[in-house]
Symmetry: C2
Subunit: 338 residues, 2 copies
């Protein structure tokens, strides 16, 4: 009687980093996922990102019966209506723009609608949560924030250091996102976020995507109840309209990619990122979330935990839908709407 | 009584290669030009072209009162209605796609709607009119033609060698263009086109943009009457629906750029292209066409020469309008229209 109407539920994942193939797309369909933010790049420069986007276009063509590209909120609704999965392209680094402010509009026009300001290292724009000192947003970084605001490319701060995050929130004329991280007072990790940062995000009307990446929770041992408790406490802090999911799902990836993810071209030495020497490989995921087909488990879990149906819909995707719809508009389009 | 209704005339230039600034845009307005194909690159690779397109986006922003970007026929009509100049971005080389077939859709999505298969040298795709031997379209070249057909990026063959041109016309499922060249039996030049090539273009329903570039006519001494005679004889050969203008206007460019245009990075020795040792610098233009403000001179000249008003409208821009409108559609869009 109190069950979720899955046909009406919109499920949106704020970040997935997978080696996509048709089988994985079918898993998304099993999970009745409406839309994902797919990570296109980590360390890739402008030219490399261009090639990756080209391959994505081809992938869209070859799997047009299963997925559609998403550049607007309407595209997400279209995906839902057609029973397809919408895919928002984004990168976890500002490396695609090299040192050229003009490339933000260029990549935005190619459908790259989300860009994280830094990945795990200091870059031209700011600093990461793993650097010893975070000097905050650079001069170029301030221009990047303003230009992303202008064209409607969503700012993602998930891997940024605290000062860079606070500076970016202050500089941004528009709401920003932390697409995949958790409150660090619930799960301590350099990658998770402090009260100060999340308070600033809340005031900015920004969105927090809660993360299932095992290193950012309690590993594979994390129970569904514990995850629901994470959601509940985050909602208490942020408000139910500003909490969503960003699983950081990593599937179909080998150790070679793990090295690329962690070491890029910046070191010859092993760097473990959110992992550790004792836990050097890809992490095992909780039993209740082994892949995209398991999204309904989370929805059912939240309902069983006591969330209202309305709040479950909001956290599972309704919030991202509203947030993406606004965030992907250029400032010119926003003005026309007013 | 037989004067042209300039308010109703659409003027479209099939190629201009200028160092654009606001003054030049005002000259286009003086000439009541509706749309130009602006050359974005000659030798630039993918990364360099990306940067150039980024700068063009900024130029569009900064001069939004004078110009708008054109990706469709509707955009051209919008430019006319708003009293602005529409700008189609294109390149005179396939260098933007490097060796990657997927970059055609990428650059098409960025608004690069016209691409010449080769500039003055042999490349991965085919050969130029200046090479000793033209081996025709390469294996990659055939794929490039098919992919340009698919996405709706117009194939330009102006600088290609005869065999490459004939091969491309045969391979193409859609009409192609020679945006800026003249019949070589009227003005002999390696850059101008033979009867065989233009006959193939005619059969392909392709478009020929007649060129005012002094080295491709009789220099600055060419009279308006002679140019009108060129138009008349070309129309006799091609039919009035397949002849238009592609002035190849080169303004505001210095000797440094001339060296880049002719020598790129492929030689240390001077290469004169369509020029010669005796005439090594930028050519002087005929008195009746010193710049974009002089387009009405050509229209008036054609009318005085005996062309009907309808045919003047066709050659001045009506033909490009129809041709661009169809050519810029993807094959998917064409099918929807049928």
């Amino acid at each position: 009687m109190n069950s979720l109407a899955k046909k009406d539920m919109i499920i949106i994942d704020g970040l997935e980093l997978c080696n996509w193939d048709r089988n994985l797309l079918l898993e998304l369909h099993k999970g009745e996922v409406t839309c994902i933010h797919a990570c296109v790049g980590l360390w890739e420069n402008a030219r490399e990102t261009l090639g990756k986007i080209g391959r994505w276009y081809r992938f869209f063509e070859e799997n047009a019966d299963l997925i559609i590209p998403v550049r607007t909120g309407e595209d997400i609704l279209k995906a839902k209506a057609e029973g397809k999965v919408g895919v928002v392209l984004g990168t976890q680094n500002a490396s695609p723009i090299d040192d050229d402010i003009a490339l933000i509009e260029v990549f935005n026009n190619l459908g790259l609608k989300i860009m994280q300001l830094t990945y795990n290292n200091q870059n031209l724009i700011g600093s990461s949560c793993y650097e010893k000192t975070d000097t905050g947003l650079s001069r170029f970084g301030k221009n990047v924030v303003a230009e992303m605001n202008r064209v409607g490319m969503l700012i993602d701060l998930s891997h940024c250091g605290d000062q860079t995050t606070l500076d970016a929130i202050e500089a941004s004329r528009r709401p920003v996102s932390i697409t995949h991280a958790n409150p660090d007072w619930i799960y301590p990790s350099r990658r998770n976020k402090s009260r100060e940062v999340l308070h600033a995000l809340k005031d900015n009307r920004g969105m927090l995507g809660l993360c299932v990446y095992p290193f950012l929770i309690n590993g594979a041992a994390t129970t569904m109840t514990e995850f629901c408790e994470l959601v509940a406490r985050s909602v208490d802090f942020m408000g139910v309209e500003q909490v969503a999911l960003g699983t950081d799902l990593t599937l179909n990836l080998d150790d070679e990619f793990l090295k690329w993810m962690r070491m890029g071209r910046w070191t010859f030495e092993m760097d473990y990122g959110a992992g550790s020497k004792d836990n050097p490989s890809w992490p095992a995921w909780p039993a209740w979330f082994q892949g995209p087909a398991d999204f309904p488990n989370i929805a059912d879990g939240l309902l069983a935990h006591g969330f209202s149906k309305q709040d479950v819909y909001a956290v599972m995707g309704g919030n991202w839908l509203n947030f993406f719809t606004e965030s992907f508009k250029s400032e010119k389009e926003l003005k026309v709407c007013v």
